[in-house]
Structure formats: structure tokens, C-alpha cells
């Protein structure tokens, strides 16, 4: 097997751009996903059965359908409805955020419910509103417990963002396929992209375990 480093070098700039986009998409996805997920989880924990049901349905539908299908529906159906043309990057951001929000909502709910209910009662008995109690008492404690599963979610998101290549969002996988199409070279294109993904997820894993250790010391 000969490995042609010259074509990897030729695509270097594209790979770099693609990697940056992959990182950007994942970051925005996890950020928006966490914000949406927080509200979905609070919604699901509402006392009113009907309200809670709406959010349960959202979670079930999003978790029960493939990300690729969601991506195609959003790219070819929903985004053109609002922007009057398709936009691969916008569609990817929307699809990744929505998809991540369903998983993150359940992570957050588990985190919140793992905090002893006396904490909420103590906070409320001092006159705090539900939201204040969440913000100052429950979430800071739940955050510590949610960090490992949130990290998992972020890692999945980085890898799942490769699906965006199917709708021509020029992220890492898109350039690997472009390279493969131009030179018919399998190893150079896919091994390189695999290595970059591995580098990204490995770095993230390291960062997360550092963060976890620091939270534990505090």
C-alpha cells in the first residue's frame, strides 16, 4: 500500500477549513442543544400532565427518528420554507441542536431529579421562586453530575456532524469525500478524516476529565 502524502497536503487547507466547520457546528449544536434541552426538561417535569406530555412527545419523536432523516427533512423541507433556498450549514445547525436537545433534556432531567428534594424545599421555604431555586441551588449541584453524560453527548455530536456531508455542508467529511471523488483514493481521504475526528474527540475527552477533576476538588 502506498500512501500519497502529496494529495493529503494538497487538500490540507480544505481539511483545515472542514475541521474548523466541524468544530463550530458541534459547539453551536451542543450550546443550543443544552439551552433548548434545559427548557424541554423543565417542561417535561411540569406538574400538568398535558403540558408534560407535549415535551415527552418531542423527546420521543426526536430520539425515535434517525438524525440523517431529520437532517434531510430540515434541509430540503423546513429551511427552504423560511429562507426560500436551502442552506447546508443552517440546516446542520438546526438539525444538530434539535437532535442534541432531546438527549440533553433527558440528561438534565436525570441530573435535576438526582438532587434530594429537600434542597428544593429548603430553597422554596426561604421565599425563592422555582426558577431562583433551580438557578442557585439545584442546577449548580446537578451540573456536576450531568457533566460526564453531557461530555458523551458532545462527543457523539462531533461524530454525527459528519452526516452533514450528505447535504453538502463543507465540513470535514465533505472534503474527505471530495478528495476521494477526485483521486479515487480511499486511505488518504478517509484515514485522514478519521484521524482528525479521533484527535478532536480525544482532546475533548481530556478537557472534560480535567474539568471534572477540578469540579470535584471544589
Amino acid at each position: 500500500m502506498d500512501f500519497r502524502f502529496d494529495i493529503v497536503a494538497e487538500y490540507g487547507a480544505f481539511f483545515l477549513q472542514g475541521t474548523l466547520l466541524t468544530v463550530g457546528l458541534s459547539l453551536i449544536g451542543v450550546l443550543l442543544g443544552t439551552i433548548i434541552g434545559l427548557f424541554i426538561s423543565l417542561g417535561k417535569m411540569m406538574k400538568s400532565k398535558w403540558c408534560s406530555l407535549i415535551f415527552t412527545c418531542y423527546i420521543n419523536i426526536i430520539r425515535g427518528t434517525p438524525l440523517l432523516v431529520q437532517l434531510l427533512i430540515i434541509h430540503f423541507g423546513i429551511i427552504p420554507l423560511f429562507l426560500h433556498r436551502s442552506n447546508g450549514i443552517a440546516a446542520t445547525i438546526v438539525a444538530l441542536s434539535i437532535n442534541a436537545s432531546a438527549y440533553i433534556a433527558e440528561t438534565i432531567r436525570a441530573g435535576i431529579q438526582s438532587i434530594h428534594k429537600g434542597q428544593m424545599e429548603a430553597a422554596r421555604s426561604l421565599g425563592m421562586t422555582y426558577m431562583q431555586a433551580m438557578r442557585y441551588v439545584i442546577l449548580p449541584q446537578a451540573m456536576k453530575r450531568m457533566l460526564p453524560p453531557l461530555g458523551n453527548e458532545f462527543i457523539s455530536l462531533i461524530k454525527d456532524s459528519s452526516l452533514a456531508s450528505t447535504i453538502a455542508a463543507p465540513e470535514l467529511m465533505y472534503w474527505a469525500q471530495a478528495m476521494n471523488a477526485q483521486y479515487y483514493r480511499v486511505w488518504e481521504s478517509y484515514l485522514t478524516s478519521a484521524a482528525v475526528y479521533l484527535f478532536l474527540t480525544f482532546t475533548l475527552t481530556q478537557l472534560l476529565s480535567k474539568l471534572e477533576r477540578r469540579l470535584n476538588i471544589e
Binding site: 434530594h116 429537600g118 434542597q119 424545599e121 429548603a122 430553597a123 422554596r124 421555604s125 426561604l126 421565599g127 425563592m128 421562586t129 431562583q132 442557585y136 441551588v137 449548580p140 449541584q141
Partner: protein, 240 residues
């Protein structure tokens, strides 16, 4: 101060509280005793709306809790609560625990809140623990901090839900001492407890509850020496 009339509470088909009527005056220390399962804790938790009541009325300082227009959060600022298992916030230092509600609910200035916190910590004898986290405290110390935290909101009434039941025996005294001081200062208190010594010494009135009802209420001398109800006699003979 507190007027409770025809208070009823049930979980599904189980009646926890059946028609409770009681009036508590300012500066009164009402001690609620009775066997477990009598509904003592539920009764206390109804007073600051930690439990939703099924029927009846609770008025605190003339404000009706059952009125939909009543702001429960505002009312809770005036009613402090101390729990059996402390419920301190473990991610905050002792000082932050006490300061949190004044800062966030009353929007006090940091300096002002800090000053008041130190006064309160002095009062419960734990000023030297201001900057430690709750996990390094003993049970008795935790409960004294919890009392300080409730007092930080300057409540008109303090509710105590078995404040010494989760403590090692040698730590009960220090918590009761703080509560006695509070009673001497004229705080209106409702205390659910099994500490009969405390009830006799500090209580201005003893309420005996069983199976969701108030069976008997009287001054400590009368209730402990001449209980008139059979259930009260049986209960007291077992524990005294």
C-alpha cells in the same frame, strides 16, 4: 398570627389531616407531639405551603394562603422553616448558605447581608465556621446553621420539623439551646418534636396529634400531668 380553620389534607383516599383548627398568637411557642404517622409534619408543611391543602383555610398575619391571589413566595419569606435533615446547600459555604436568600429574594446589598450573616452566626455560636462547607460540620452545627439561614429572612414565624431527630444524642442540647434563646427573644414558633423536656420547659402550649386530628391541647403542666384523653395518656406513658 396564624389561624387555621377546618384544614384537611388527603393523599388519594388516605386522610392525613382531618379538620384541624388552631389559632397561634404572636410570641407563642406551640409544641406539637404525637406518635409517628399522626400527621404532625404534614400539618407543619401545610403552614408554609410545601404541601397543597385539600380543604380549609390558613391565615398568616391576616393573609389567606388558600386565596389564589396570595403570593406564596412573599408569604414564605415571613415563615422560616427548619427541617429534620438540615437541607443545607452543599455547594456553598456556610456564609453563602445564610446570605443566599437575603441577596436573591430581598435584593440586599452584599455588605449589609454579610454583616447580618455574621451577627446570626455569632448568635448560633458558629461565627468561626463562616467560610467552611457544610460537609465538614457535625449534625448539630449543621442544624444551627440551618436555623441561622431561616432567621436571615427575618421571619415572623419559625417552623421546626423534628429539628433534633437526625442528631447524635450529644448534639441535641446545642440545637435546643439555640431554640430556647429564640423563644426567649419572643419568636413565634411551631415545633414538632419528640423532646419532651424541651416541650415542658419552653412550650407555651402543647398540642397532641393522633391520626390526623388534634386530640388535646393545653399548657405543658396540664397536658403532661393531667392528660384527659386516653390516647394522650397511652402515648405519654410510653415515652416518659
Amino acid at each position: 398570627m396564624i389561624k387555621i380553620s377546618h384544614l384537611k389534607k388527603n393523599y388519594g383516599k388516605t386522610d392525613i389531616l382531618k379538620d384541624i383548627n388552631i389559632t397561634i398568637k404572636s410570641s407563642e411557642v406551640v409544641v406539637v407531639i404525637g406518635p409517628s404517622g399522626a400527621g404532625k409534619s404534614t400539618f407543619l408543611r401545610c403552614i408554609n405551603s410545601l404541601e397543597t391543602i385539600t380543604e380549609g383555610n390558613i391565615c398568616i398575619a391576616g393573609v389567606d394562603l388558600t386565596d389564589k391571589k396570595t403570593n406564596i413566595n412573599k408569604m414564605r419569606e415571613k415563615v422560616g422553616m427548619v427541617f429534620q435533615d438540615f437541607n443545607l446547600f452543599p455547594h456553598m459555604t456556610v456564609k453563602e448558605n445564610v446570605m443566599l436568600a437575603p441577596l436573591r429574594v430581598k435584593n440586599c446589598q452584599v455588605q449589609e447581608a454579610e454583616g447580618k450573616t455574621m451577627v446570626l452566626l455569632q448568635k448560633v455560636g458558629l461565627a468561626n465556621k463562616a467560610d467552611v462547607y457544610p460537609e465538614s460540620l457535625s449534625g448539630g452545627q449543621k442544624q444551627r446553621i440551618a436555623i441561622a439561614r431561616a432567621l436571615a429572612m427575618e421571619p415572623d414565624v419559625m417552623l421546626f420539623d423534628e429539628p433534633t431527630s437526625a442528631l447524635d444524642p450529644e448534639m441535641v442540647g446545642e440545637v435546643l439551646e439555640v431554640m430556647k434563646q429564640l423563644a426567649r427573644d419572643g419568636m413565634t414558633m411551631v415545633v414538632v418534636t419528640h423532646e419532651m423536656g424541651f416541650a415542658k420547659e419552653v412550650g407555651s402550649r402543647i398540642v397532641f396529634m393522633d391520626r390526623g386530628s388534634i386530640l388535646e391541647e393545653n399548657s405543658p403542666q396540664e397536658l403532661f400531668n393531667n392528660p384527659c384523653h386516653e390516647r394522650t395518656k397511652a402515648f405519654l406513658s410510653k415515652i416518659l
